[in-house]
Amino acid sequence: MNIMTEKSLDDAVNAEMNARSNEIIKMRGDKVTVHYGDKQALFGVDLDVRQNQVTALIGPSGCGKSTFLRCLNRMNDTIDSASVGGKITLDNEDIYDPKIDVVELRARVGMVFQKPNPFPKSIYENVAYGPRIHGLAKNKAELDIIVEKSLQKAALWNEAKDRLNEPGTGLSGGQQQRLCIARAIAVSPEVILMDEPCSALDPIATAKVEELIDELRENYTIVIVTHSMQQAARVSQRTAMFHLGYLVEEGATDKMFTNPDDKRTQDYITGRFG
């Protein structure tokens, strides 16, 4: 890329900062509680998300991983019955502050969903969607560049470059998921949330996406929900274990997988869990 866009400048800065320290807190959850109607799904979760690191959320089904993830970019706002308590900050700013704009927040904290959900539009339009609505490109040429870069970063460019005008729904499942990642990247978010991004994919596609996540860490902060212990071990630097709506423990991935503090974590990662 010989054109220095604002974004690549950003990336450079990010990389710099990453080199200096990977212990900067990007997002922080402080006693986060969530209710769905009368049912409480999260109980006072304190969790930090560190900049330029991959944080994995693990835990048995229904323990509130997705719920916590969705709090981080306020996707829970779209569920009528959901109410969120406690405090969540992004760059030290309360994201549930009335002054904060959800649209702006979600442009900074992007999301990739469990099931690939490309829009029923062309591959190009899928990726261009975010930049278009946020007005990130001044003209078609700039937009083209953003699309190309995003697809490259999502490791989809080679497969898709000749079929940019074909519908995104015509791609394979793994390609669709990478398309969704490209779509998220195209907005240049600071944080990317991924909810079981590989659960619908075969092992080869999974490997590709995992590889991709590792590369993306350089420029983005990533939070990923996964059911695969191996995946958590492979891609994440830090791991948080949830159980029944509580955060059981959180720590460096190496330590969590070799020497967890909590018995429940031990049981879960060794597969001895109900």
Binding site: V103, L105, R106, M111, F113, R183
Partner: protein, 488 residues
């Protein structure tokens, strides 16, 4: 013996068979063999073997008998009447029939010494409360008496045969009762066949629609060339001169079709944006409380019969628009009280709930993942709707609009009351145009004279309308179905 009486007797035999069959099955159950079916199934089976063949025979015989009687009366009419027009012959036959049914009210004593002139007969009948048309002729009296005799004989035969069939059937049913007899399976088989029969009624209705209109349409095109109808630009059917052959008239479809499409277009112009926007608002924005109130209100709008809309257009909106336009020009109104605008507007409002409920279904069928995907990228709700949901729903919405258009084209009462009857060809929405449906109503109300092109043309119009809407419906249903499958 009357149809109903025989029917009642057959039913009574059946019920008796039911009781007997159940009894017999119970008596046979001595506990040694496990019965296949419970006792009442045996009863029902005996009932069915008795009643079904007898009733089928009875119905078929009755239809055949009335046709036979009809031709009998026609053939007995004197030559000069039979040589007249079809209408005259039908009229005479009708008089004979009502005379015949009137005669049935008289007692046998009077019947045996029946006067031969209608003038003498009439007071006798009037005393029994039978009023007959004064142009009943003397020659009809013997024909009517004979017809009654024939129909009595036919009725007798049918009664004997049906009752006989019922008894034989019952005997067969009762004899077959044994503990291992599969009475339940038999009964259920009959039920299944009747269920199947009920579901084919939809096909029969369609066939009935097509055939009935087709025959009349063919009769129409024997009198009026195809091209005059399909390419004619003048609609001026004239009146059917009573009895006279086809009087000259012009049956151009073009002005009616143009009016139909124009009014439907205006209606869609009103209904589609408003209906679509309300559906979007209701499904994407409205708080549950608002929805709970507004949705039934919109459904109410859909439940109002179209005649009410038509009358509103005729009595209130039409005159209102005319007066407004008169006030604007300070004298002559440029909007007529019956106009394309009035009819289109009111029909449009009538269609709002149609569009909105159809598109509501379509919009809610767009998977939540689409919405989340867009919102998760930081799109606002309206951006999500405009750029993701509506494009994704587009095929379905097109289908919904087609269905609505088909409703608009086939709508009758609003245009009958609000659009006018003059078959103009105009582009000015403030003038009156007429539609296919209006003309169908016009041609078929009042005194009918079948077999004149003036009446038959209504069927040609009807089949055109049916074909038009059929194509639209099928395309629309196909699109919507494909659309739904895509997201299932």
């Amino acid at each position: 013996m009357s149809f109903l009486l025989v029917f009642a007797i057959v039913l009574a035999i059946g019920l008796a068979a039911f009781v007997a069959g159940r009894q017999r099955a119970r008596a046979q159950d001595d506990g040694t063999v496990k019965p296949h079916s419970r006792a009442h199934y045996h009863g029902w089976w005996a009932f069915l073997t008795g009643v079904v063949p007898a009733v089928l025979f009875l119905a078929a015989w009755d239809i055949g008998a009335s046709a036979y009687l009809n031709s009998h009366i026609h053939s007995a009419l004197p030559a000069d009447v039979a040589d007249g027009t079809v209408a005259q012959e039908d009229l005479a036959a009708g008089l004979v029939k009502s005379l015949a049914s009137g005669l049935r009210k008289l007692d046998s004593q009077t019947l045996s010494a029946l006067p031969s002139s209608f003038a003498e007969l009439q007071p006798m009948l009037a005393a029994k409360g039978v009023a007959l048309a004064p142009d009943t002729q003397d020659y009809m009296i013997p024909i009517a008496t004979e017809a009654n005799r024939v129909s009595d004989r036919l009725g007798m035969i049918s009664a004997v045969v049906s009752v006989g069939l019922a008894l034989i059937g019952v005997g067969f049913g009762l004899r077959g009762i044994s503990p291992r007899a599969r009475a339940r399976n038999n009964v259920e088989k009959v039920m299944l066949w009747s269920l199947l029969g009920a579901s084919t009624l939809a096909i029969l209705t369609t066939i009935g629609i097509v055939l009935s209109m087709l025959f009349q349409t063919i009769a129409f095109f024997e009198k009026v060339p195809l091209s005059n109808f399909f390419f004619g630009t003048v609609w001026d059917p004239r009146f059917a001169a009573a009895g006279a052959g086809a009087s000259e008239g012009q049956f151009g479809l073009i002005p009616l079709l143009a009016g139909t499409l124009y009014i439907a277009f205006v209606a869609l112009l009103v209904a589609v944006p408003i209906g679509l926007m309300s559906a979007v608002y209701m499904s994407e924005y409205a708080a549950p409380k608002v929805r709970a109130v507004v949705k039934p209100a919109l459904e109410l709008l859909a439940g109002i019969p179209t005649i009410v809309y038509g009358i509103f257009a005729l009595v209130t909106l039409g005159p209102f628009l005319r007066d407004i336009s008169a006030a604007l020009t300070g004298g002559t109104p440029f909007i007529q009280a019956q106009s394309i605008l009035t009819a289109g507007l009111v029909m449009g409002v009538m269609l709002i709930p149609v569009v909105s409920s159809l598109s509501d279904d379509i919009i809610t069928a767009v998977p939540r993942a689409m919405r989340d995907g867009s919102l998760g990228l930081g799109a606002t709700r309206s951006e999500t709707i405009k750029r993701v949901i509506l494009p994704a729903a587009l095929p379905g919405i097109v289908g919904a609009i087609l269905l609505t258009a088909s409703r608009a084209i086939g709508e009758t009462m609003i245009v009958v009351l609000a659009a006018g009857v003059a078959a103009n060809l105009t582009l000015n929405p403030f003038e009156a145009m007429t539609t296919i449906t209006v003309k169908i109503v016009n041609q078929l109300t009042g005194d009918l004279e079948f077999n004149t092109p003036q009446t038959l043309v209504a069927f040609a119009l009807g089949i055109t309308l049916f074909a038009l809407t059929l194509v639209m419906n099928i395309v629309a249903l196909y699109i919507v179905r494909k659309y739904r499958e895509q997201y299932e």
